[in-house]
Symmetry: C2
Subunit: 695 residues, 2 copies
Amino acid sequence: MLTAKTSSTDVGQALLYPKSIALVGASDDAKKTGGRPQLFLRRSGFQGKVYPINPRRTEVQGEKAWPSLSSLPEVPEHVFVLSPTDTVVPTVQECAKLGVKLVTILASGFSESGPEGVERENQLRAIAQESGIRILGPSSLGVVNPNNGLMLTANAAFAEPDVPKGKVFVASHSGSMIGALVSRGKARGVGFAGLVSVGSEVDLSVGEICAATLDDPAIEGYVLFLESLRHGDQLQAFAREAAKRGKSVIAYKLGRSSAAAEMAATHTGALAGEDDIADAFLKDLGIARVEMLETLFEIFPLAQKIPAQTKVAQRVAVVTTTGGGAAMVVDQLGVRGITVQPPSAETIAKLQAADIPGNAGRVLDLTLAGTKYEVMMKALDILLNAPEFDMVIAVVGSSARFNPDLAVKPIMDSAGHSKPLVTMLVPDAPQALAQLTQADIPCFRTPESCADAIASVFSRRQLSVPAIVKGHATTATRALSEAQAYDLLDTLQVPHAPAATFDLQTLQPGALPFDFPVVAKVCSEHIPHKTEVGGVVLSIRSQEELAAAFATLRNNLQERAPGVPCDQVLVQPMRKGLTEVLVGYRIDPDAGPIIMLAAGGIWAEVMRDRSIRLAPVSVETAQEMIGEVKMLQTVAGLRGKAKGDLNALAQTISNLSQLALRTDLNVTEAEVNPLMVMPEGEGVLAVDALVMQPL
Amino acid sequence: MLTAKTSSTDVGQALLYPKSIALVGASDDAKKTGGRPQLFLRRSGFQGKVYPINPRRTEVQGEKAWPSLSSLPEVPEHVFVLSPTDTVVPTVQECAKLGVKLVTILASGFSESGPEGVERENQLRAIAQESGIRILGPSSLGVVNPNNGLMLTANAAFAEPDVPKGKVFVASHSGSMIGALVSRGKARGVGFAGLVSVGSEVDLSVGEICAATLDDPAIEGYVLFLESLRHGDQLQAFAREAAKRGKSVIAYKLGRSSAAAEMAATHTGALAGEDDIADAFLKDLGIARVEMLETLFEIFPLAQKIPAQTKVAQRVAVVTTTGGGAAMVVDQLGVRGITVQPPSAETIAKLQAADIPGNAGRVLDLTLAGTKYEVMMKALDILLNAPEFDMVIAVVGSSARFNPDLAVKPIMDSAGHSKPLVTMLVPDAPQALAQLTQADIPCFRTPESCADAIASVFSRRQLSVPAIVKGHATTATRALSEAQAYDLLDTLQVPHAPAATFDLQTLQPGALPFDFPVVAKVCSEHIPHKTEVGGVVLSIRSQEELAAAFATLRNNLQERAPGVPCDQVLVQPMRKGLTEVLVGYRIDPDAGPIIMLAAGGIWAEVMRDRSIRLAPVSVETAQEMIGEVKMLQTVAGLRGKAKGDLNALAQTISNLSQLALRTDLNVTEAEVNPLMVMPEGEGVLAVDALVMQPL
C-alpha cells in the first residue's frame, strides 16, 4: 500500500514514460478491445516491460500471460484495466495494495449509469483517497506517447502504425477524438508528444493530468478537447504554471449550443454549465479557445509568438497577391471584431519609395504584377517595421501552389522578425503549407481558421485572479433579507437607494426620511422572491397609502405565504435610472468566483446580453465588461442621447467583485438587480439585492 | 456590325464553346500575362481556331500571328483583349464593326480609376448598346471550360495542366479566386463545367453570364463568388430559371463585416450595399449562401437533394460511432439554430427490437461496440424510415480512415433512400471522402462545413415575388408630407393614429376630434426630418397649450428653417404601445423592392435587430419576420409579460409590402417609424411615416 498520494511528477512519469505496464484482462484476440493495447505496444516497439494478465490463459498473443497482478515479478508502474465494469473495483483495490502508482480504467458504467454505478465510483474515490493511488478514467481509452512508442490504448485508430511525433500534448474528454486528432494532425504536419483520454475524471482531472507533464521538455503546448468545464480549480492551477513556462494552452470546448451542452451532461453525469461562463473562465486563464476543429492544428506557432494580455493591441496589416483572397480574411476577421488597418501615410510613402505596386487601401494588394520575391520581401520588411502594426498577415494566391518561390519564400525569409507574421494560402497548396508548418511559421489553410486562430489568441487575457478557494460553492445556502443585503453592499461600497425598515404589524407608519412616491416590500430572509407572494407595493404617494400598503402586504403574506416568518417591511423611494443593469457575483461550482454584468430586465433573458469575468476585477476590466454589453451603448453617448454614469458603474462592478477576496464575508452569491444607472455624474443605485450565504 | 444584341444562347456558345478565338495583344513570351492564354489553350489541346493578333510580329509562340482583327480569314466568335487599357476602346469598336459576338477585356483602369476611366467605361457601354456586341469585363481574367480545353485565361494558376472536369459552373467577381477554387475543388474531388472571371460587369453581369449557360446539359449547378450584390434584377431572372431546371445555386458573398464591404466597393467602384439586404435577397431567390470557403466544394449533393422551401422542416437525426465527434456536429448545428432531435418512442422501440446498441439520447451513439456494417445499416434504415425525421446525419469516427467497410459502406449502401443522408467523417479520411463524393453522397470533412452546408440549404426560400421592375430606384426623389403619407397608409390599410391638420398660422386652433394629451408637428413635404428643425411639440394637455405649441412651431421654423415652405400643422393624440417597431419598404438599387421590420428606436441601431425580405410578403412570411426580430420576443408572451398584437403587425407588414405591386402609387420608399404595437387585440398604430416618390 502506498503511504502517500502519488506525486504529480510520478504521475507524469507513469503516464507517459512507464518502465512497466500491466494489462489486466488482456485478450488473446488482438481485434478485440481488450487485445488492442498489447498489439499496439508491440507494433510500436515500446521498450518498457509489458505484462499481460489473464487468469484463464498461459499465453496471450504469443507472450507469457500472468494470472494476477500479485504474481508479477515487480510492481508495475502503470496498470491498464481492460476487464469488465464489475471487476474494476477489486482490481483497483489490488493495485493500491501492491503500491501501483497509476491505474487506468477502460470500462464505463459508473456515475453516468444509475445508483450502482455511483456506488462503484464512490468506492474508487475512497480507494484513491486512502491509498494515494491515482486513477485515470473510468471510460478512458488510454494513453499514447509517440516519442517512446507507448501505445497504451484501446482506441482502434492506433492500429495505424506511425503516429506523428511532435511537441503537442492532448488531453481529451472524448476518447474517440484522440484518434481523429492524430490523423488530422498528421495530414497537417502536426505531431504529438502525448495524448490522453481522460474519461470521466473520477480522480485525475484534465488539469492535473496536464500539470503532471509540465516539466516534460518534449511538450511545448497543450490541446484540450473539453466536453464541459469541470474541476476548474485544477485547470486554473495548470494554466497558471503553463503560462509561467511559456507553454500555450489551446481549448476546443463543446457546448456553445444548449443541445450539445445537454449531451455532454448526459454523457458524463456532470451538470451542464453555462457556456459563456466557461468561455470567460478559459480566456481569463490565458487559454485560447478556438471555434473550429481545424484551428487546433494551425494555431500553435501563432499562440507561441503572442503572449496573453489583458489589453491586446489588435492592429493588423494585410499584404496580398490576390484581392479576393485577402478580402475573405478581412471579412472573417471583421465578423470576429478585428478590423484590418490601412498603413499610415509614412508607411505608404515608404512603400511608394520602394516602388511597391498596388494601391494603398485597407489591404496592400501587390496584384499579379507584384507577385515577385523582391516585391513581397520588401513589402513585408516595410510592414513588419511599421510602428502602427502589431501583426502582418500575408495572403498568397495561386502562386503558392505552383511557384512558392514568388511569394511564400519571402515569408519564410522574413520569419525572423519579432512581430508575428501570419500566412494564409488561398489555393490548395499542401507543399507550401507543409514547409511553412515545418518552419514554425503561423500558416492557415482557410480564411476561417486563420481568423479563428487570430481572434482566439487575441482574446486570451492575463491571469490576474487569485487561485480558486474550493469548498463552499456546493454547500447548501440561505438568503439574507433585503435589509441585511444592503448592509453587505454598504461594506462593499456598492451604492443603494436609501431604505427605512418598519415592523410589519405597524398600523400607522411614521414619517419617512425621504419623499414620496415610495415602494414598500416585505423584508425577510425566508422570502427571497418577494413579487411571487405579492410582497411589493409600488407608487405609494402618501402616509395613508403607506398604511394601506402595509395592510395589503400583511394580507398577501397570510394568503400566499402562510407561516413563513416575516417581521419587517422595507420602504424605499422610487428611483428611475437612464437604464438598469444586473450585476451579479457568485461562486460558480466549475469556474470559481465570477462577476457578471447583464442588460436589465427582460432584455437580459431575450438577448443574453452579458459579460462575465473571473472575480475580482479591476475598474479597468469592469470598463471592458461595460463595453461588451451592447445595451449599454444606449447610454454611452450615442447620437446625442443622455450618457449614463458608466464610471460609477465600473467602480461598482469592481467593488462587488471584491467578494472573491473577502472570504470573511462568507458570501456565495450576491445579485444586485436592478442597479439603476443614473445620468453621468449622478452614480448608480441598487434598488434590490439578493445575497446568499452558506447555511 | 451586328444588327441586334447577341442572344443569351449565342453568348453561352461564344463563352464556353467558341469555334474561333482571337487573342489581341498576344505576347511571344508565354510567361507574360499576355502570353498565357495561348500557351494554356495549346497545352490543353483546345480544338477551336486560335488567332494570335500582334502587329509587331509575324509569329507568336511559334504560330503565325495576324496584324489585326480585320486581317483574319473569319470573324472570330470570341475575342480576348490582352492589350493595355488605352487600346481597349478602339479594339472593342473594331470587334463590334466586324460582328464579333463576345469580347473579353483583361485590362483594368475603368470606372474604378478616376474620371478618364469612367469615360472609357461609358464608351464601352455605348458600343455594346449600339452594336449588340457583348462585353465580359473589364478586369476579367478570362474563361475556362475544362470539358473542351478552353483555357482562355491569363490566370497563372492554369499553368497547371489538368483542371478537373465536372458539373459545377463558377462565376466570380474575383479573377484570382477561380484558380484557387479549381485547386481546392481538385483536392476535394469536385470538378467544373466552366469558370468565368466576370470582372467589373460593364456589360455582362453574373446573372446574365450564368443565364447564358442554363441550357448547357454539362452544367448541373452554380457557384457564385460575389464581392457585392450588383445587377440584382439579372441575378433574380437567372435564379428563377435555375430553380425551374433544378440546378442549385450556391453563393459565397464577401461583406459580412463593414471593412470587407468597403473593400469590395473600392475595388469595383460599386457602392457597398448592406449585407443583410443581400443576404435576404439571396435566400429569397433560393440561393444557398455559405459562410465558409470549403463548404462550396461539399454542398452540392445536399443542395440537389433538398428543394428550396418557404418553410422547411428541420428535423434532423444523428447516428454516430463517436460521441465526441457527433457532439461537434450537434453543437455547430445548434449555434446555427438547428436542433438535433431525439428519436420518437416508436423509433427507439424499433432500434431496441433490432438489437441496436447505444442509449437513445439526442444522438444514437452506436459506440465502438456497434461499429459494424450490419448495425450501422440497420440503424440507418430505421432512422431514414422514421416519420419524425427529414434528414439523417451519420457521424463516423476513426473507422472511416482505416476500415471504411464498417460504417462508411453502409452509408453508401443506404444512399438510395429518398430522405437526405448526410455524412461527416471525424478523422482525416481522404479515401472514404473521395468515395462518398464520387457517389454524390453529401459528405463533409469538418463539423463546421457540415453545419454550414445544412444551415444554408435550409435557409433557402421559394422565390415568391414578381420580377424586379427596374428603373426608378436610382432617380431623384421627393418626400410627401406626413398628412399625405397617412393618405397612402390609408390606401394600403396600414393603421395610423388619428390626425387633424390646421393652418400653421392659426392662432386659436379649434376643438380636436380626440382627447388631450396631443402632439403637434409641422407638416410639409419639404421637412422630412421634423425634429431637426424643432418641428415637434409633445405632451400638449389643453387648448391653451396647443395654441402656444403652434407659436413655438412658427418660431422654430423661422429660426431653423427660414424660407422652407410649410403651411400645415398636424395634431395627433399621444399613443403609447407595448413596444415600437420600424416597418420600412423601399426599392433597393441592388435587390429591388424590399420590406424590413426592425426593433424600434435606438435599439435598431445598436443591435441591428431586424428582418428583411423581398417585397411583397404574405402574412405568413411577415410572421416569420416577426420571429426573427429578437426584441419582439418581449411582447410575445414571455414569462407572463403582456402580449402585443403580433397578428395585426404581420398583417400591416404584408399590407405595406404590397407597394411592390402598386406601381400606380409610384413610391420608392415608405418608412413607418414608429409603429406602435398595442396589446393583443388592439392592433398596431403608425404615429409617423416618411414616404418618398420619384421627382
